[in-house]
């Protein structure tokens, strides 16, 4: 680069374009961070500092009273503590089962193809796009029938089933990159279906499992419609439904709502901050296949 001297006019034009680039990027940065700023300054204000006319001012001091109210409740506010436990009880088993199912399905659909397996895969994939409104009424009826309506296991079942398309897709595309020679070698050595799965596929599956686990954890934690319909019981609400109720209540001050929103956002945000690379891979997995 330095060996090619640039004419002065060219050089100054380049730096101008840099100025424009950074200006636009910083303006967008402000747009993306504006809600973060508001949520942080509001949730750390004490109750006597909460004033609508000074909502954009920084808090003077550092108060956890809003979090206490959002978490434990009081004065007409229903605390969200119980719903966090519900969400954890829901998300952990659902994510684990989803990973195992997705991995098995992906293994079969990439390495044990059979006549019609591609059609089956496309039929499974379609399930990822349907509006869940089109299955809700039968779903409630069937869950009632098998006595899983208004229960956490019922919600786990629903998330596992409707998670099959995306988890199968991610694992299938991941396993498709594993060379078939590895499997052939395994077969020569006398390994059967499960032998190859255990000794060839599983040892190299860790990144696939991380991507799918993050994807399922994030989407189940953030999901609202199933939580709303299937846990028709205040005691069983997942966090998103609890937050919607918290913010819909006229007793709830804005600082408590912001604290509640921050609490709900925190787990998935932490995952994004520490495992962002895998989070992105999951995001792109469904979109970059075509």
């Amino acid at each position: 680069m330095s060996s090619v001297p640039l004419p002065m006019s060219r050089q100054s034009r380049i730096s101008w374009s840099r100025v424009i680039i950074y200006t636009v990027m910083i303006l967008f940065l402000l747009f993306y961070l504006l809600p973060v700023y508001l949520i942080l300054i509001t949730s750390f204000k004490s109750f006597d500092q909460v004033s609508l006319s000074r909502m954009w001012d920084l808090p003077n001091g550092f108060s956890l009273a809003s979090f206490d109210r959002a978490w434990n409740g009081g004065e007409g506010v229903i605390g969200m503590r119980g719903s966090f436990w519900n969400s954890i009880q829901l998300v952990v088993p659902a994510t684990v089962i989803s990973c195992l199912l997705g991995s098995l399905n992906g293994y079969v659909l990439s390495k044990w193809r059979f006549p019609g397996s591609e059609t089956l895969f496309t039929l499974i994939l379609f399930g990822m796009f349907i509006p869940y409104q089109s299955v809700l009424v039968p779903l409630v009826e069937v869950l009632r029938e098998i006595r899983l309506y208004a229960s956490i296991p019922g919600l786990i079942l629903v998330h596992v089933v409707y998670g099959i398309p995306i988890t199968t897709l991610i694992f299938r595309n991941y396993y498709a990159t594993v060379p078939n020679e590895l499997l052939e070698a395994g077969k020569i050595d006398g390994a059967d279906f499960f032998g190859i799965y255990r000794h060839v596929m599983l040892p190299i599956s860790a990144p696939g499992f991380v991507v799918v686990a993050i994807w399922q954890f994030t989407s189940i934690w953030n999901e609202f419609l199933f939580g709303l319909i299937i846990t028709n019981d205040p005691q069983l609400r997942p966090v998103t439904v609890a937050l919607q109720n918290l913010s819909g209540s006229q007793f709830t001050q804005w600082n408590v709502q912001m604290a509640g929103a921050l609490l709900v956002a925190l787990p998935t945000l932490l995952v994004y901050i520490f495992l962002g690379k895998y989070f992105l891979r999951g995001l792109l997995a469904g979109s970059l296949k075509g």
């Binding site: 349907i130 039968p138 609202f224 912001m258």
Partner: protein, 330 residues
Amino acid sequence: MQQAKTLSARPARPARWLNRDRVIALLMISPSALAIAVFVYGFIAWTGYVSLTSWNSLATTSTFVGFDNYLSVFATGRFQTNIRNLIVFTAFFLLACLLIGLLLAVLVDSRIRFEGFFRSAYIFPMALSFIVTGVVWRWLFAPGNWPDDPTGINLLFKQLGLGFFQSAWITDTGVVPGWRVEGLRTRIGVPMAMIPVVVAAVWQMSGFVMAMYLAGLRGIPDEIKEAARVDGASEWQVFRTITLPLLQPITLSAVIILGHISLKIFDLIVTMTGGAPGNNTEVPGLYMYEITFKANKFAEGAAVAMVMLVVVALLVVPYLIYSRQTEVER
């Protein structure tokens, strides 16, 4: 070594298709296949059946009424308004996400400092629930008693000396231009209260589009662009004639992903506006929930759900078939 072993072993293996391992493979996929068959296709068929009956109360007996529910739903001003709102939301949301996503991807890709920081800050809203997004943006767009005693973003504008930007936002009942058309029971135009909802949705999803375009940009070999530059093409020409056409598959994927999210939008609107003011921000996803689970009009709700499904299928099915064909060709 491995290669040679495989090659030599191949002729010796029997060409039998249905061996023990293949049966196990079929057994392993069948629970998932069965679950999808029941929970997706079976339930859709069931909903389709319900939509053709008179099950519009808690009574358990119902009769077959053909397409009556569809006709009566489409005849209501409320559902017509829903569809207008959905078209407006989808159009603005898609356009803004694609433009902002592409712009940010190009900027982030132009060898800038702190690239990782900018990228992460643009994408992080994707990790949040639409409920969180809705709660925060509802407060940002709560207008207060503007112009004198504003709240949220109106107050921010006032404090920054930009008071002329103040607006009624999510409480705005206006529809621009609001044409009345013979035979339609809704006014044609952009419901102004929808704009804040679009802003919140774009805030959440545009970073995702940026990530997609960025992956696409990084996949274009520098040599192609360099060759064009050597031939005397300007940066803009390089972008228009080389980069943009190569990004077309990404745009297609983004339209499918954003489109199906947009057509099903529910959570964000429940939290941000609840469909208000009037029904100016209500969409079919919310309407279905309201009439089914609050008014017990199961058949009409099922009809709305089937309409949603057909619209999403029109978008997604051609794409699924197309991407399967391109995969087979490869």
